[in-house]
């Protein structure tokens, strides 16, 4: 390949497509009838979702005793899955907010999609703490509201912080996403020939007119939202990690948890986004907008965060040894060589070893290999949450109460159902909304901005 001229910013959209072609390309999935593959995919994810729903119905009819949770591991699959899915969501906000603040233009092609994944992942995650309460229809009790019992939630509890963090995260992500969609709804409204679609798009576009007097405030609000979403996304996984770190259980009670969880969340989230984007760009022919360069950049972030996670694993061991606290030392030895050793080593190999292949440029740019590595990363990250949650609980201070946690089939069904929910929403999203921000992509096409430079 020829030498790269580093003084010139590379274009993030390949070729120089006319603006109208961008419209057509991005909107095409919405205008065409879904093909057979779409229905095959939807029926697979739909059945997974149905399986999860049935398992949940069974759980509530019989009681949560049908899960593996029991003393002393009261936080089995539901919490593992919760942390996993919240983590997946983090990549979306990172891409849409943090990369926006860093003026990373390559984010434009993938931001909308990643934000959508954030929303769906947080929705999926939200299911778990609520079902874990046992009677999810009473979840309203989690919020502080004036009631005739004159009771309030305990604001010192990390679980209450979680309620605030996750619901804020969902709301703000959703608002962020919707604000980004408004101009696109305007474009859709003006393009569509169908009457019903026109009504729907008009309603959601709120009558957007692409007016520059609006764009001016709009860009400001986008900046403000990005500014708020950035600390928010860091806070969410921090608070999720507080669920563990604020307790006194060996293996949980560590100050490294917040940054370690955030890095892990970004790590798994990017892996998931990368996986899904590879499929999307193939199916919808978005190769020129979601370019190989973009994917390569994502792989670099996976490599970086993977090493941060690896560092955290090592540091946990070091601190356990250095602190001289016996239960702490035991907790970590037990993780690596105890009854859950298999889970621990799956986690280490998937999270620390495999991403190292991304040092090699060829692998970073080879679609099939990077896809597999990212899948492994997500397997590893799921096991990370499993290892953290289960090993510490199953063997705490009191050996007489030790037990080996085994999930039941119902637990497994619910986990499958959560993937079903996530991917069903995602598949429906690809056919109902523009998965790439039309107005943002237009703005970064070569020649879209005036040539006379900044004023």
């Amino acid at each position: 390949m020829s030498a790269i001229d580093y003084t010139q910013e590379l274009s993030v959209v390949e070729g120089k497509p006319p603006l109208r072609e961008i419209d057509e390309l991005i909107i095409q999935p919405l205008d065409t009838k879904p093909d057979k593959n779409f229905f095959i995919a939807l029926s697979i994810t739909g059945s997974m979702l149905l399986l999860g729903a049935l398992m949940l119905a069974w759980s509530f009819y019989k009681g949560t005793g049908v899960w593996g949770n029991n003393n002393p591991v009261a936080w089995g699959f539901p919490i593992v899955n919760f942390v996993f899915w919240v983590g997946i969501g983090h990549a979306g906000t990172l891409i849409s907010a943090i990369l926006f603040l860093f003026r990373q233009k390559w984010r434009t092609g993938i931001a909308r999609f990643a934000e959508g994944m954030t929303i769906f992942a947080v929705m999926t995650a939200g299911v778990f703490p609520i079902i874990h309460t046992g009677r999810p229809w009473l979840a309203g009790y989690l919020l502080p509201y004036p009631n005739q019992h004159d009771l309030w939630v305990n604001f010192h509890s990390p679980l209450v912080w979680d309620v605030f963090a996750v619901s804020t995260y969902f709301t703000v992500s959703f608002v962020f996403w919707y604000v980004g969609l408004i101009p696109d709804f305007g474009t859709l409204r003006d393009r569509t020939a169908s009457k019903i679609k026109k009504v729907i798009y008009s309603v959601f576009s709120l009558g957007w007119r692409h007016s520059n007097r609006h764009w001016q405030h709009y860009e400001m609000v986008y900046l403000v939202l990005a500014g708020f979403a950035t600390p928010l996304v860091l806070s969410v996984h921090t608070i999720v990690s507080f669920d563990f770190a604020v307790s006194i259980l060996p293996g949980w009670h560590t100050t490294i948890f917040p940054p370690y969880f955030v890095a892990g969340a970004v790590f798994s989230g990017f892996a998931m986004v990368q996986n899904v984007l590879i499929i999307i760009r193939k199916i919808f022919h978005f190769e020129h907008i979601i370019t190989l360069d973009t994917l390569e950049r994502m792989n670099k972030i996976i490599l970086l965060t993977g090493m941060m996670v690896g560092y955290a694993y090592a540091m946990e061991f070091f601190i356990a040894w250095y602190s001289g606290v016996q239960p702490e030392q035991f907790a970590f030895l037990n993780r690596a060589f105890g009854p859950y050793m298999w889970a621990y080593w799956i986690m280490v190999s998937c999270n620390v070893i495999f991403p190292q292949f991304f040092w090699i440029k060829k692998i970073r740019r080879k679609i099939s290999v990077m896809f597999i590595i990212a899948v492994l990363v997500n397997v590893g990250m799921w096991f990370e949450r499993f290892v953290i949650t289960v090993t510490s609980l199953s063997r705490d201070y009191l050996p007489s109460s030790w037990a080996y946690y085994k999930p039941t089939l119902v637990d497994g069904g619910i986990l499958i159902g959560s993937f079903g929910l996530f991917f069903t929403l995602l598949i429906l999203f690809t056919k109902s909304l523009p998965v790439i921000s039309i107005s943002e992509v237009k703005a970064v096409v070569d020649g879209a901005q005036p040539s006379h430079g900044e004023h």
């Binding site: 209450v160 605030f164 008009s202 007097r213 600390p231 806070s235 107005s439 005036p450």
Partner: protein, 379 residues
């Protein structure tokens, strides 16, 4: 065409450079009521139109601080004023624990309310009635053209001047935009049948679902407050035990604490002779007796045993406990009534322990003496 009212004069341009120069010129000429429409924000346009910087940053600051204040008030009110509780030995107002909630509410209110302010107040959206909608102009600018229009309301509006100005900057299409007459004349009426039907539907659906939830759903499994549980309740069969009963009898020949069997069922006269009050008439025993009497007996017998029931006829009034008959009864005979009940009066064995029953008897004795004192009491 001619009877339509003009809203503005518009021009479409092909390149971002053209539109910027055109906008600059329009501003320079002193037009006020004009706007530029572009498919995406064009850099430098704000300067060209000389727009003052957006004030939404301050709006966000304001709402953020209000959210934080709300969180402080909420945590303070709940944990210091309304429901103070010592948790983990910390002071009532333990600030560090409230930081996460404060932070989240700050972000929540700043993000949501700033966006709402922008859409509703700054943009006056939703507005699908703007004359620009459904014009070719709008369709072009939402895809790949750059548009500029000057409203007829502008003081300097002059068709010829505007036209030549547009032409100077390579405008590709120059055309007037009209108000849509049907939209201008359309008025919303409250008594439109559609609207009324909508309201009725909403009313039926909400009241129906509310009725269903409160009166039906709450009695179904699993919503029925754990009424139905997988545990053995009395009288149920249970295959684990050889006799198939879920209930277990005490081991033969043993008596649980406080569960002395009563030997005088259906034998009031024998009880009257055999049972003797084991309690001494001490102040404590009287106090206990009064307490139990006031709780369990007074609703029917009245606070002073005169049969002045508070049941308002929902239960037959009992006779006075001051009757000669009851006064002449032995303590054991009254004890028997409490234990076994009498005719419509139910047994109080499950509510009162042995000792409490005897204390109640003591108290009834005191009540009787208060109306029919003995001569010796005067001494």
């Amino acid at each position: 065409m001619s009877d339509k009212t003009i809203f503005a004069y518009s021009a479409l341009f092909d390149s971002p450079d053209d539109i910027i120069h055109a906008a600059e010129e329009v501003k320079k000429q002193g037009f006020e009521k004009y706007d530029v429409n572009t498919p995406y924000p064009v850099h430098g346009m704000d300067d060209a139109m000389k727009l003052s910087p957006s004030k939404l940053g301050y709006v966000a600051l304001f709402f953020g601080l209000s959210g934080m204040l709300a969180a402080i008030i909420l945590t303070y009110f709940t944990s210091v004023v309304d429901y103070p509780q010592v948790i983990g030995g910390k002071p009532f107002y333990a600030f560090p624990g409230y930081v996460p909630v404060m932070f989240e509410l700050t972000v929540l209110s700043a993000a949501v309310l700033t966006v709402a302010t922008m859409l509703l107040i700054f943009f006056k959206l939703p507005n699908n009635r703007h004359p620009l909608h459904d014009t070719n102009y709008m369709k072009a600018v939402s895809s790949d053209k750059y548009g500029l229009y000057i409203e007829i309301e502008d003081e300097k509006y002059d068709e010829a001047v505007i036209k030549s100005l547009f032409e100077r900057f390579n405008a590709k299409v120059i055309e007037p935009i009209y108000y849509d007459d049907t939209e201008v004349e359309h008025k919303n009426r409250i008594f439109e049948p559609k609207f009324i039907i909508g309201l009725v539907l909403i009313a039926v659906i909400t009241s129906g679902t509310t009725y269903f939830t409160l009166n039906k759903l709450m009695f179904m499994i699993p919503f029925s407050w754990m009424m139905d549980q997988d545990k053995i309740v009395p009288q149920e069969s249970y295959e684990l035990f050889a006799d198939g009963f879920g209930m277990r009898n005490p081991v033969e020949g043993t008596i649980a604490r406080g569960q002395l069997p009563y030997e005088y069922y259906q034998k009031p006269e024998e009880a009257a002779v055999a049972l003797i009050n084991p309690l001494f008439p001490t102040a404590e025993n009287f106090a206990l007796g009064k307490k139990k009497y006031d709780i369990y007996c007074s609703p029917c017998h009245g606070y002073h045993g005169e049969g002045d029931s508070r049941m308002r006829g929902q239960f037959p009034n009992p006779p006075s406990l001051h009757s000669e008959k009851v006064r002449d009864w032995t303590d054991g005979r009254i004890y028997h009534v409490i234990t076994e009940g009498q005719n419509v009066m139910p047994s109080y064995s499950t509510q009162l322990s042995r000792e409490e029953k005897w204390a109640t008897v003591l108290y009834i004795r005191a009540l009787q003496r208060s109306l029919n004192a003995k001569e010796s009491d005067l001494e």
